[in-house]
C-alpha cells in the first residue's frame, strides 16, 4: 500500500480478558512526519479505547497477547511490569511524503 504506515498501540488491561478495562496505553505512530512529536508520557487522562475489543471495533489488529501466569512457589507476590499487555497495529495513510 503506497503512503501507508504502521501504527502500534499498546493497551494494558485490568485483567487478561480482551474485553477488560484499559488501564494504561501508548501509541507509536508511524504515520506522523519523521521527527514529529509522538505520544508523550502523561499527555492523556483517558484511554483511547475502553478495551482491546473496543479497539478491534475501530480497525486495530491484535499482534500479541500476554501469556497467562504461572506462579513459582516462593515468588507468588513478586510484581514487575504490567502483566496484561496487548500489542495492536493498524495501517493508515501517512501524514506527509516521507517516502523514499
Amino acid at each position: 500500500m503506497a503512503n501507508t504506515r504502521q501504527q502500534i498501540l499498546i493497551l494494558h488491561l485490568a485483567e487478561p480478558d480482551l474485553g477488560a478495562a484499559t488501564v494504561a496505553w501508548a501509541l507509536f505512530d508511524g504515520t506522523r512526519p519523521a521527527g514529529d512529536q509522538q505520544m508523550q508520557a502523561g499527555d492523556q487522562a483517558q484511554p483511547p479505547y475502553a478495551s482491546v475489543v473496543d479497539a478491534m471495533y475501530h480497525g486495530w489488529r491484535v499482534l500479541q497477547t500476554p501469556r497467562l501466569p504461572t506462579y513459582p512457589r516462593g515468588a507468588e507476590y513478586e510484581t514487575g511490569p504490567l502483566p496484561w499487555e496487548y500489542v495492536l497495529e493498524r495501517f493508515a495513510a501517512a501524514d506527509n511524503a516521507n517516502d523514499d
Binding site: V23, A41, T79
Partner: protein, 259 residues
C-alpha cells in the same frame, strides 16, 4: 541534617499508611511563603546550563542558604525522619529545571535499580517546588502505588499514560516525599517561565521500623484503609491480589510489629 535542635513532629499512622499505599506524601503548608520566595530567587539567579556533576553532588544546596533552611524546618525534618530516620545521609541533590516552552515530557522512569529488600528498605526523594507550579508549567507526574512494582530505572519508558496518573501541581512551597521506587516523569512546560524543582535523595542509616508515630497503627480505621486500597489505583487491575499481602507485611514491619 541536624536533629538536635527543635523537636520534629512525626508522621501519624494514617499519614504513613497513605505513604505505604500511594508511595508518596505531599504537603502544601510546610514552608513559609517568604522562604519559598527566597529559594525561587536563588533558583532564578542560578546558572540554567549546569548539568548534574556527580563530583559536586550538592551544588545548589551549597549555593542557597535558603534551601538549606527549608530542609532544617522541624516540619520538613519530621517527615524525613519519619521515613528514613535520624541522621539520614544526604546522598545528592540537584536543582531540576524545565525551560519555558519545552514540549517534550520526560519518559516514565524510577530513580533506582532493584533493591535487595524492596520495598522495605528505601531511600526517600524529596521534591520541593518553591514557586507556584500549575499543571501547564510541567510539575512532576507520578503514578500512585507504582513503588511496589519491582522494576529498574528505565524499564517503564514504553508506557505513556495510566488511569490514575497524577501531577504534583499546586501553589508555591509544595513538597513531596517519594519512595525511591515510585514511577515518575517531568512534564512539558507550556508557560513562559522556568519551572524549578529541588530534589534531595536521603538514605537511611537505621532500620526503617517504628520511626513514625505508631500510635493506632492497628486501629480499625487503618485496617479499613488497607481493605479499600485496591480502589485507589485502578491501573493495578487484578494485581491487587499480589500487592495487597506485600503491603500488609511491609506495614507490620514499619510499625515494628511481630511478622
Amino acid at each position: 541534617m541536624t536533629t538536635d535542635t527543635l523537636a520534629a513532629p512525626r508522621l501519624s499512622a494514617g499519614d504513613m499508611a497513605r505513604f505505604v499505599v500511594d508511595g508518596f506524601l505531599e504537603f502544601g503548608d510546610l514552608v513559609p511563603a517568604d522562604l519559598n520566595a527566597q529559594v525561587h530567587a536563588d533558583a532564578l539567579a542560578y546558572p540554567t546550563d549546569r548539568p548534574y556533576d556527580p563530583n559536586k553532588p550538592r551544588e545548589f544546596w551549597d549555593a542557597s542558604p535558603a534551601v538549606r533552611e527549608v530542609f532544617d524546618l522541624p516540619a520538613v525534618r519530621g517527615v524525613v525522619e519519619s521515613l528514613v530516620g535520624p541522621e539520614a545521609v544526604h546522598d545528592h541533590s540537584y536543582l531540576h529545571t524545565v525551560p519555558p516552552g519545552k514540549r517534550e515530557a520526560q519518559r516514565w522512569h524510577v530513580d533506582s535499580s532493584l533493591a535487595a529488600d524492596h520495598p522495605r528498605q528505601f531511600d526517600v526523594l524529596v521534591c520541593y517546588f518553591p514557586h507556584d507550579a500549575p499543571p501547564a508549567m510541567g510539575p512532576t507526574m507520578v503514578l500512585p502505588g507504582s513503588h511496589l512494582r519491582r522494576v529498574s530505572y528505565h524499564d517503564v519508558t514504553r508506557y505513556k499514560n495510566f488511569v490514575g496518573q497524577r501531577q504534583l501541581h499546586g501553589p508555591g512551597g509544595r513538597i513531596a516525599f517519594l519512595h525511591e521506587s515510585l514511577w515518575h516523569c517531568a512534564q512539558p512546560n507550556r508557560t513562559d517561565r522556568w519551572r524549578f524543582m529541588f530534589k534531595i535523595r536521603y538514605l537511611p542509616r537505621v532500620p526503617q521500623q517504628g520511626l513514625f508515630d505508631t500510635d493506632g497503627w492497628d486501629a480499625a480505621g487503618i485496617d479499613a484503609f488497607y481493605n479499600d486500597a485496591r480502589r485507589r489505583h485502578p491501573w493495578v487491575g487484578d494485581g491487587f491480589a499480589a500487592m495487597g499481602p506485600e503491603r500488609r507485611k511491609w506495614w507490620r514491619y514499619l510499625a515494628g510489629a511481630p511478622a
